[in-house]
């Protein structure tokens, strides 16, 4: 072999090393993204991958014949397994119960195959190159490849391609290198063997290319789209999947894949939810917030100087302590949940509300996720609202978020009709929140209300969205947001979950 193919073989090493590290990074990212606890996942993946490489290196001594052909075989196998690793794991995560064994099994297989590559290549080349020179060059290119991969992965690949496409693209690259290698190492194998290898290489590239074409369908099943917006926090609590993404404008919280707020415009939502009911009561002292574990509604509540006590009931402790683990949220909520007046209760609001017998609340804010499942739908039933009715002071007010009256009018009015069935008098209102569009709220009381509330003047901090003039405009409903008839949402019919599903499905 002359100089030119030798240099090309070193380039081959570079690409192989890059691909190997990319698969490792993919597995680590996927594991920490899907399973949470990124320190543990990355640590496990790296450890397992490196030890598997050791296993590969040890196994290489058992390959004694047809080294070149075996090297190409290994490359094609890496291309296949590594290339399909991310899409396979994404799909498998939702479908199987033995995800961890699959994940770590794949990491081990890829590690072992990659571990075979360099020893084989070095043995192939040792006949042609001085051994000292060989070791120094191969390892140099290997480490350069690792650097290249670790730079490209976060800066270029994940933001532009996403995990699934990155995986597939590097699989193709790996297979292409395999085919190319079959030309470079042509003198070391039979023509028939080389032809067979190339045929298989082309087949693998074809399969991976088909994967790229189908990747869009796949991402619909996974959360990849959110991932491409750069995930900064992920956790699976016993109750829900908590995900925070970040882009140039701010950060976004997702629960079970549903967007809860965007830090750039959440103030519009939370001011609209909080200040109309808070302003409608003379001196609101005892406040109850149901849901809203992010603390953003509580932040607004604490702007009213008369507030003495706030009880926040949220199912998920992972949510109410999120501000501790994700400091930007603590900043955004102004550490509202750490305020001495605030008591956090981690309990199912439905069960909790049935157990309360104490002093009534002056204002109750209901900030649950949208009713997309039965377990959330029960928190919008007449039964639940009757429990809430008992918790509200006679001159108290309720503020409630009720999904979009524009996108889901039947759902919106079902919530209001259900509250009326439970004995409340309800005023609809709305606000524009760019991230969500036109969003719906309602103000409820035990007695008929004559006019809309006037914004309280003695707030501790100025508001960014509401002022005394805009608040009354929230209560004038335009022509496209007028009342719809609906069934009352009851525990035994869960009509709302069905309305909600029908109406939001139209948008997909």
């Amino acid at each position: 072999m002359d100089r030119a193919p030798l240099f090309l073989l070193y380039l081959n090493v570079l690409i192989v090393a890059t691909c190997g590290l990319i698969y490792e990074l993919l597995a680590g990212t996927l594991a920490s993204y899907l399973l949470g606890d990124s320190v543990t996942q990355f640590s496990l993946v790296i450890g397992l991958y490196l030890s598997a490489m050791g296993v590969g290196a040890w196994l290489s001594k058992y390959i004694t014949r047809q080294l070149a052909a075996c090297f190409i075989e290994v490359e094609l196998a890496v291309a296949m397994v590594g290339g399909f690793s991310a899409p396979l794991l994404f799909v498998a995560f939702g479908a199987i119960d033995w995800f961890r064994p699959l994940l770590f099994g794949m990491v081990f297989v890829i590690g072992t195959l990659v571990g075979l590559e360099l020893p084989l290549l070095m043995r192939i080349l040792k006949e042609h190159v001085d051994f000292d020179d060989l070791v120094s060059r191969v390892l140099t290119f290997d480490y350069i490849g690792a650097l290249l991969a670790s730079l490209m992965f976060p800066i270029l690949l994940v933001p532009s391609l996403g995990l699934v496409r990155t995986s597939l693209v590097f699989g193709i690259l790996n297979a292409a290198v395999g085919i190319w290698g079959s030309f470079l190492l042509r003198p070391l194998m039979t023509a028939r063997r080389a032809g067979g290898l190339r045929g298989r290489g082309v087949l693998i590239i074809g399969l991976l290319t088909a994967g790229i074409v189908k990747a869009d369908t796949l991402t619909r099943y996974s959360e990849e789209q959110q991932l491409s917006a750069s995930i900064v926090y992920a956790e699976t609590s016993p109750y829900q999947r908590i995900l925070i993404t970040k882009n140039r404008t701010g950060f976004q919280l997702f629960l079970n894949g549903h967007l809860q707020f965007n830090s750039t415009d959440e103030y519009r939502y939370h001011e609209a939810l909080t200040h109309p009911p808070m302003s409608a009561v003379n001196t609101p002292k005892r406040i109850l917030v149901l849901g809203g574990g992010d603390g953003l509604a509580v932040r607004e509540v604490l702007k009213h100087p008369s507030v003495e006590q706030v009880s926040l009931v949220d199912l998920d402790p992972s949510m109410t302590t999120l501000a501790d683990r994700f400091p930007p949220l603590a900043d955004l909520s102004q550490q509202a949940l750490s305020d001495p007046r605030v008591k956090v209760i981690n309990s199912d609001a439905f069960v909790w509300a049935g157990q309360q017998t104490g002093e009534p609340f002056d204002v109750i804010l209901i900030d649950f996720p949208d009713p997309s499942s039965f377990s959330v739908g029960k928190l919008y039933t007449s039964y639940f609202y009757r429990r809430i009715h008992r918790l509200l002071a006679d001159d108290g007010r309720i503020g409630i978020q009720c999904t979009s009256p524009l996108v889901a009018p039947q759902s919106y009015w079902c919530i209001l009709n259900t509250m009326e069935d439970a004995g409340f008098h309800v005023q609809p209102y709305h606000a524009s929140v760019p991230t969500f569009g036109i969003w719906g709220f309602a103000l409820a009381s035990k007695f008929p209300l004559e006019s809309e509330p006037i914004l309280a003047e003695d707030l501790r901090q100025p508001l960014r969205f509401l002022n005394s003039r805009t608040m009354s405009t929230l209560f004038s409903m335009p022509n496209d947001l007028t009342r719809h008839d609906s069934e009352v949402n009851r525990l035994n019919n869960q009509a709302l979950v069905q309305y909600y599903e029908q109406e939001w499905r139209l948008l997909e």
Binding site: D97, P238, V351, S375, Y383, N492
Partner: protein, 567 residues
């Protein structure tokens, strides 16, 4: 026997039950534990020891029943009460409720068990109450006035202000999602396995429902419905009664039904409500299940009234009104009836296990509200004809298990529902005790049901009776593991209860035969209540007979009072 292409596999799975029992035994002997490590629980057999002693007369210790010394208590004293009620199940408690409403408060209820409730009993733990047997009642028709009164007392139903219709109160009406079915690897809502139904299956399903609708709307010459609760109000037109002559399987076959999903569903419903397969259930009883709950075929399905404690909530409500009059752990071992015409009183011997002695009570009236199969052992001076009839009453055994979970098991597809059924399982699936409380996360209790409906050779029946807790635990986990692979991680305690004679069996010819009316006739001043007198084990039927027996007693008292006044 295989009339209508019966769902295949059940009989092989019966063998499977026996095999798994055997396997569990083997593993116990070899020391290899298959049941989840650290899992504990109890095997309860209510009434079995005391009941079998009663059957074998060992309580009497060979003592001859002699009317002359029968009045003597072990300590020589005699206690008297106006009405003695035997059995504190729904029938006995309902009888007491009706007596109390009618102004009679001198009564006592004697119960063999340590707790009242019979097969409607419930249990409780830190997390929730849970049923040990019956667990729901469909919203009754407004014409069932006594039952409506009871449910209004319990704040379970209310009458709407506008059109005066009866509706279930929201917290008692079963909350959505009601039910789901595990079929082909995932949970689907609704019990009909739509996902595997072919076009011809769906055609049969809708034809079956059309036939049910026709029976719902059917009226005889007097305007009576064919199927209505209570059974006593059903039409006795020969066109309806002829259904009682054949099995459900024979009827399905006659009607040309062969769709597997349909046969499975009908079979499931028969096993669920009657503890019998379609090859064993009377076609009349099968149609009663489908057609008795609706007045008109256009009506929507009635709400189901249910509580965390199941029908234990009804037991608690009734018991609380006269708890001081319920004597638990007091098996009645002998009743010598008064003649019912003169003022001669009945004599009742009650065993007191605490003092290991016999108490003697006298009562002007007795309401026997325990199962009829006990009467040959307990009731003296019955006509032989009655004893023969009662011996033809057949009862089925049930196994009920309560699985205490630290968290909900994961499941693919439809979310955890009130009723969770596995397609083609030999068992009935489970209900979730915390469903009605509205909690959707964290610890709960699942109640798993299994009627032993397959006819077993006596050898196998003995093996089932002798099965240990470990064996039952293994059987239950083998049923549930395939649908909840993570069940082992969630499970903290598993209690199994074996009901020896849980349910009267509506086999062909029984409901509209002559044995049932004969058994309901009073013997002297002993009146009979109990759901077995309807031929169907339903709360509404037990309640109907309890109230009826109490009304009979009140009428008898009025008669004797007016006879006394005439003298």
């Amino acid at each position: 026997m295989n009339h209508a292409g019966i769902p295949e596999g059940r009989f092989s799975r019966r063998d499977w039950l026996l095999t798994s029992l055997a396997a569990a035994t083997a593993s116990r002997f070899t020391g290899c534990q298959q049941v989840v490590a650290g899992l504990t629980g109890d095997l309860l057999k209510p009434g079995m020891t005391l009941g079998h002693q009663l059957r074998d007369h060992s309580l009497e210790a060979g003592e001859a029943i002699d009317a002359t010394n029968a009045n003597l208590d072990s300590d020589g004293s005699v206690r008297n009460v106006e009405v003695a009620i035997v059995g504190a199940g729904i029938a006995g408690l309902s009888a007491a409720w009706q007596l109390k409403r009618s102004g009679l408060s001198s009564f006592r209820i004697f119960e063999l068990e340590q707790v009242a409730g019979g097969t409607s009993r419930s249990g409780t733990c830190d997390v929730t109450e849970f049923p040990w047997g019956a667990h729901y009642v469909p919203l009754p028709d407004v014409s069932n006035t006594d039952l409506v009164t009871l449910f209004r007392e319990m704040l379970a139903v209310q009458v709407t202000e506008g059109d005066r219709t009866l509706i279930a109160v929201e917290g008692v009406s079963c909350r959505e999602p009601h039910e789901r079915l595990f079929v082909n690897g995932e949970w689907l809502d609704d019990l009909y396995p739509r996902s595997i139904a072919t076009e011809s299956d769906l055609k049969e399903w809708s034809r079956f429902r059309e036939i049910v609708s026709r029976w719902i709307d059917w009226r005889d010459a007097h305007g009576n419905r064919a199927f209505v609760i209570p059974v006593a109000h059903c039409s006795q037109d020969p066109d309806v009664l002829k259904l009682d002559q054949i099995t459900a399987a024979a009827w399905l076959s006659e009607q040309g039904f062969s769709s597997q999903p349909l046969l499975w569903l009908v079979d499931y419903c028969c096993r669920d409500d009657y503890g019998l397969t379609i090859e064993q259930t009377s076609a009349w009883a099968m149609m009663f299940y489908f057609a008795s709950r609706l007045k008109n075929s256009g009506d929507s399905e009635p709400a189901l009234l249910t509580w965390s404690a199941g029908n234990g909530a009804i037991v608690q409500h009734l018991s609380s009104q006269f708890s001081e009059k319920i004597e638990t752990s007091r098996p009645v071992i002998r009743i010598i009836p008064g003649d019912g015409r003169s003022d001669q009183q009945s004599v009742i011997h009650v065993w007191n296990p605490d003092s290991d002695s016999k108490e003697t009570w006298t009562a002007r009236h007795v309401i026997f509200a325990a199962p009829q199969f006990l009467t040959p052992h307990v009731l003296a001076d019955q006509p032989t004809e009655r004893i023969e009839s009662v011996r033809r009453f057949q009862y089925g055994a049930w196994v009920v298990a309560n699985l205490h979970l630290s968290k909900r098991p994961a499941s693919a597809g439809a979310p955890l529902s009130w009723d969770n059924v596995i397609y083609r399982s030999d068992y009935l699936g489970y209900i979730v005790a915390t469903h009605q409380v509205g909690s959707d996360f964290g610890p709960t209790v699942l109640t798993w049901y299994y009627p032993l409906c397959d006819p077993l050779p006596s050898e196998d029946r003995k093996r089932l009776l002798a099965a240990t807790w470990e064996q039952w635990a293994e059987v239950i986990l083998q049923d549930l593991r395939p649908v909840h692979p993570d069940l082992g991680e969630c499970l903290s305690k598993l209690d199994v209860l074996f009901w020896g004679h849980a349910m009267i069996q509506p086999r062909p010819g029984f409901i509209w035969g002559s044995d049932r009316p004969l058994a309901a006739e009073p013997v002297g001043n002993v009146h009979f209540a109990g759901t077995d007198l309807s031929g169907l084990a339903l709360m509404e039927e037990a309640f109907y007979h309890g109230v009826r027996a109490a009304n009979e007693v009140m009428a008898a008292r009025e008669n004797s009072a007016s006879a006394g006044a005439a003298k």
